[in-house]
Amino acid sequence: MILTREEQRHSTLSEEVRSEMLAAVAACERKRGAALDVLLIAKRYYGWISDEMLRELAVILEMSPAELDSVATFYNQIYRKPIGRHVILVCDSVSCWIMGYDLVRVRLTARLGINLGQTTPDGRFTLLPIQCLGACDQAPAMMVDGELFVNLDATTIDEIIQRYP
């Protein structure tokens, strides 16, 4: 697939991002092998992948947009919808469930005024469930923007939320 001139003029990727992606592609045996690398680079810069961006990434990877979309939608950490400035991942696996996941979920949804899978109207937080974060000995646990928080209770949850304006 080749991008139209119109699409080339309105690229959603900065030159810096594009060159980082091309380097990832070059380091792989086959271009499509870098699909996850490229999607994660896009995530790092833009947070989520729009349809327009997906088409551009597909060109870089020499995949069809549909095929790349099937990959992008398969993995938890690739977002195909806009997300908030901060992403909270709440562990709902068995050890956290035993140790009080329900209380964590209730506190977070009450404080943020949203349910799991939603973004606050001010665009500050997206709240998502996640499978076991590997912190079972310090359950319940959650992750905000890649930072792990453990032994959660109502007080610590409120404090953590404050840290992310």
Binding site: A27, C28, E29, R30, R32, G33, A34, A35, L36, D37, L39, L40, L61, M63, S70, V71, F74, Y75, N76, Q77, I78, L89, D92, S93, V94, S95, W97, I98, M99, I130, Q131, C132, L133, G134, A135, C136, D137, Q138, A139, M143, G146, E147, L148
Partner: protein, 424 residues
């Protein structure tokens, strides 16, 4: 008691760095193997040591290695993939190993690669392990700088490229063939069991995949020998094991102990027993996909065969304790919901059967269960069992359900009879 895997770690001091690792004998095994051992000798050594996979299946590592083609005309490049995609609920041992002593893993990866004469090695790690990712990036760079990786390692004719692959989530990517599809930039769905990845794996080339903990054992076997490794275990299984305990125990945590210590020793001596006022009703011995065991199994040695004889699996060795104030139906619901969400959707029994089971369990929890529900759940356990699905996800998923139905039958029946969850 010897603790080869965790012996260099110092509590509260952060990860073992390159300097400390080398001073404690790190990379001596690599030097020894590359300069004084042939790949065949290395494979034989690991076979003799009876190192079995620590990721859940317990397959002998040396046998796996020797199933990869050798010789000048074998397909190239060959690959080694370290599975650091730890996602089995109740399991945190690989994070512990990578955050505590990252060079140990990398040395194990390079040794394994040398054994099968691989050209490229991957560490396949989940996105959420942000700390381990940063550490491994640095660790791999240091290994290159010291020429433990890269071209002509330590002046020999052996060269190896070591790469860190950050994955983007999904439990099924931890299944070896799904992991290869993920590495090829596709959906992490499983491949047919035949041909084996060691014959045709990543990009159709011979590929050996191993769990992090398995690989961490390799340098110690090279340094100290097969007899030493076998002597570490208390039963017929060799080596030590990182056991973990979570749930309402006094001191949740992870400990390196001889393979084959009893469940009681782990739960009572190391985890401190249940919290005051609580008693143990049951436990998952090795993560979410293992059958429940109960108090009657406390004196079972935590090794592959003993736990299997008791009716479960050693799995990852991550014990999850169920106390008497936590609803076993609720726990089964949590577990099945996890597996329903993580099913890749490739084959029908798993895609349809797990959500169906989760719905029934949710209804039971809400007091909306009806007579006959338990029989449907039992049917599901059979229909999703071994032989009926494309990969081991669904058979693993129904292990805790079938054993919960067996050991906590009365609790399930009460939910239906009383039309409520008695724990709420």
């Amino acid at each position: 008691m010897e603790k080869p895997l965790t012996g260099r770690m110092r509590l509260g001091e952060g990860p073992v760095d390159l300097d400390a690792y080398e001073k404690a004998g790190g990379y001596a095994a690599l030097r020894k193997a590359l300069l004084r051992m042939t790949p065949e000798e290395l494979i034989q050594l690991v076979k003799d040591a009876n190192l079995r996979g620590r990721g859940g299946a317990g397959f002998p590592a040396g046998v796996k290695w020797s199933s990869a083609p050798t010789g000048v005309d074998s397909p190239r490049p060959k690959y080694v993939v370290a599975d650091a995609d730890e996602m089995e609920p109740g399991t945190f041992k690989d994070r512990f190993l990578m955050e505590g002593d990252p060079h140990q893993l990398i040395e194990g990866v390079i040794l394994t690669s040398y054994a099968i004469q691989a050209e490229i090695a991957y560490v396949f790690i989940r996105w959420e392990y942000t700390r381990a990712r940063r550490l491994l990036e640095q660790t791999i760079a240091e290994a290159y700088r010291k020429n433990y990786a890269g071209s002509s390692i330590l002046g020999t004719r052996y060269s190896l490229e070591v790469r860190l692959h950050v994955s983007a989530g999904r439990y099924i990517a931890g299944e070896a063939s799904s992991m290869l599809n993920a590495l090829e930039g596709g959906r992490a769905v499983p491949r047919p069991r035949d041909p084996l990845p060691t014959i045709s794996g990543l990009w159709g080339k011979p590929t050996v995949t191993h769990n992090v903990e398995t690989l961490c054992n390799v340098p110690h076997i090279v340094s100290n020998g097969a007899a030493w490794f076998k002597s570490l275990g208390r039963t017929q299984d060799a080596g030590t094991k990182i056991y973990g305990v979570s749930g309402k125990v006094k001191r949740p945590g992870a400990w390196e102990l001889p393979m084959g210590v009893t469940v009681r020793e782990i739960l009572e001596e190391h985890a401190g027993g249940m919290r005051d006022g609580l008693t143990l009703r049951g436990f998952l011995p090795g993560g979410a996909s293992t059958d429940f065991l109960t108090e009657q199994h406390l004196d079972t040695p935590m090794d592959f065969e003993s736990i299997q004889k008791a009716g479960s699996r050693l799995g990852t060795g991550g014990i999850v304790a169920l106390d008497d104030r936590t609803c076993p139906v609720g726990m089964a619901h949590n577990l099945i919901t996890f597996f329903a969400r993580e099913s890749c959707g490739w084959c029908t029994p798993c895609r349809e059967g797990l959500p169906w089971s989760a719905e029934i369990l949710a209804a039971l929890e809400k007091g909306e269960g009806s007579p006959g529900d338990l029989e449907i759940l039992e049917d599901q356990c059979r229909l999703l069992g071994p032989g009926n699905t494309f990969c081991p996800l669904a058979p693993g998923a129904v292990e805790p359900l079938q054993s919960a139905l067996k050991y906590f039958r009365e609790d399930f029946e009460r939910h239906i009879r009383e039309k409520r969850c008695p724990w709420k």
